[in-house]
């Protein structure tokens, strides 16, 4: 039995230890927001946070999540409110077909937790492991760099839990 928390909920799942965290999340925990793109760590669509750190869930054996705190895209919104980076993706049109969007959002959350006001260069480097085949990168970078800008900056920055 593999036990961990997903989005602050305790889960205990019976899965082979070397199965992919990606599959355990999608098929065991029924959290299908996390997507599979390439299955080999190239595209970032399966990005989740483990103890606040962005990882490709297709490359993490489920057993290595045992005892950890996992955050998926479903865990970004809280109390019925979208995370500021989700709001920013809406505002800037940061999604086209949408398959890469969960991975971008989760990677961006990790960036913003560490660096609430990234430059465009910092955002590009942080998001270099997420591919968008619609190639909508400009609007994604716009959304990430502007997510915590504006009058609510302090409130927004402090609403993202530190890891």
């Amino acid at each position: 039995m593999i036990r961990f928390t997903v989005n602050d909920q305790d889960v205990a799942l019976d899965a082979p230890p070397m199965s992919r965290l990606l599959d355990v999340l999608r098929e065991g925990a029924r959290l299908t927001g996390t997507k599979e793109g390439c299955g080999e760590g190239e595209c970032g669509a399966c990005t989740v946070l483990i103890d606040g750190v962005a990882v490709n869930s297709c490359l993490v054996p489920a057993i290595q999540a045992d005892g950890c705190r996992v955050t998926t895209v479903e865990g970004l919104a809280s109390d019925g409110r979208l995370h500021p980076v989700q709001e920013a993706f809406l505002r800037f049109g940061g999604a086209q077909c949408g398959i890469c969007t969960p991975g971008f959002l989760v990677t961006a959350k990790a960036l913003l937790d560490a660096n609430p006001h990234p430059t465009r260069a910092e955002a590009r480097e942080a998001l270099a492991g997420n591919l968008c085949r619609c190639t909508g990168y400009q609007k994604i970078i716009d959304a990430v760099t502007e997510a915590l800008a504006g009058p609510d900056v302090d409130a927004a920055a402090t609403s993202t839990p530190a890891c």
Partner: protein, 275 residues
């Protein structure tokens, strides 16, 4: 989705890992998983059992002086460590992308022994030593004696790589350059490490190493010899033709690798000559 049924032993201490390894020399060793999980998914690895080292926290991280790196040190740990030379931190920043850097380890890169391993030329040019441990004891193997052939290393079946030791010399000039299809997420076509010691305007020690141009990461001994005993001479780059044995493969061609190997060495030396 291919799910491996392999059982996993999760070691929590190095002593536990070595004891288990001694009785399971054929087990596949798992660290950050960024290579192994790809091999499992492709079906090119079919382990009967797995030794998971990720929980051995004593093998994680870099000493304050930057001289000792645990085998479980991630690329992110290297990027963030202020005592490491900039060229080593730059090297870590070119591995995959942040998600890979957060999980991939230097030990995995070294032991997997891919000729394209991004960090491997840097361990050669820094004269790093690898600390190998087993229940029989500990030994130090220089990086230059570790990669014996294509994906073949000096590790005995019961040994684990536990630490990397650096022996920095103040004033040495260290260089790193990776050539791939893009800055992130590229497997290298050519990767270059370099180190020069310049005393009184004369090169007194030179290390040049390359990846992706031979079955193992290699020292460019002809280039090194051509650099010694005189001011930095960019023309020494031409000697690399006698050091490398590149092949055509899915990522590049032998001809491209020959040209680019000489070019990246020359560009580095021109920068040093002008410095």
């Amino acid at each position: 989705m291919l799910t491996s049924p392999a059982p996993v032993h999760r070691a929590r201490t190095l002593a536990d890992a070595l004891a288990w390894r001694a009785t399971h020399p054929h087990a596949t060793v798992l660290a950050g998983g960024t290579d192994l999980m790809v091999f499992l998914e492709l079906g090119s690895a079919n382990p009967t059992s797995v030794l998971d080292l990720w929980g051995c926290t004593e093998l994680r991280g870099i000493s304050e002086d930057g001289r000792t790196l645990g085998a479980l040190t991630t690329w992110t740990d290297m990027v963030r460590h202020p005592a490491l030379p900039v060229a080593l931190r730059d090297c870590a920043r070119t591995v995959g992308a942040p998600q890979i850097q957060n999980r991939g380890t230097i030990g995995g890169n070294i032991v997997n022994a891919s000729p394209a391993g991004d960090s491997l030329p840097m361990w050669l040019v820094t004269d790093a030593t690898f600390e190998l441990a087993s229940v029989r004891g500990v030994r130090q193997v220089p990086a230059s004696a570790f990669w014996l052939g294509y994906r073949k290393t000096a590790l005995a079946p019961d040994e684990l790589l536990v630490r990397v030791h650096l022996h920095p010399h103040a004033g040495d000039r260290l260089h790193y350059r990776k050539v791939g299809t893009r800055l992130a997420q590229a497997i290298s076509k050519v990767v270059l490490g370099g180190r020069l010691r310049i005393e009184g305007g004369i090169v007194t020690e030179a290390r040049v190493a390359l990846g992706s141009v031979a079955p193992t990461p290699i020292r460019a001994h002809h280039v090194e010899a051509a650099l010694l005993g005189k001011p930095v001479d960019p023309a020494a780059a031409a000697a690399v033709a006698d050091d490398i044995a590149p092949i055509d493969d899915i990522r590049s061609t032998a001809a491209y690798r020959r040209t680019v190997s000489a070019n990246v060495i020359r560009a580095w030396l021109e920068g040093e000559a002008a410095a």
